[in-house]
Subunit: 123 residues, 2 copies
Amino acid sequence: MESGESIFEAAQREFKEETNLTPTSPHLKGVYTMIIKDGEKTVDEWMLYTFIAYGIEGEQFQETREGILEWHPIEALRQLPMAEGDRNNLLFAALDEGIQYGTFTYTMDYELIDERFQSSKET
Amino acid sequence: MESGESIFEAAQREFKEETNLTPTSPHLKGVYTMIIKDGEKTVDEWMLYTFIAYGIEGEQFQETREGILEWHPIEALRQLPMAEGDRNNLLFAALDEGIQYGTFTYTMDYELIDERFQSSKET
């Protein structure tokens, strides 16, 4: 996030920067506390937010410095290579109702040590 | 928030600490970027989260170091003394559907200089 941005503005800006597409109606689906531990000691801690968008506008980049952009069906989230924590977050965002909260603890080599979750819905 | 807590756990813990009540089914309603400016310079910045709860359990404190605890009807949020930014947040949480995002900019004396909002709903 840039100084003074809301998470909604940051999500739109980052998505645009990386894809050249503007997400229409982005909606927050997850808020996660990320912890990096060196043994017992917490060496880094940050918040991760996941959004879904119900549509997109614009002309998509073919390739960026992050790699070649590709579309995948939602079910492919179960097999595509990624951090296990991200897999869980993205499946919740794509398939479940409401908001998920949680904490992921990783080693300094990004090995997942621990994860726990809560979720809630508007009633 | 304490280290390693999710925002959901932090909200439950803080509410319990200040009221002795446990909120049942808390649900996130707002995520705000808070900025304190000294002239043009940003001197502090943090995230504020608002939750609603659909019920409570336990025996309520009469008084805490924060003051005497009182119940108010939702409409009283429009008149009760509080920071103007909080009034907006709490009215959204109590009355509107979906999630609100935004940025509040205050002076070092907590005078509201600027506020802007976005919101989204699950569709």
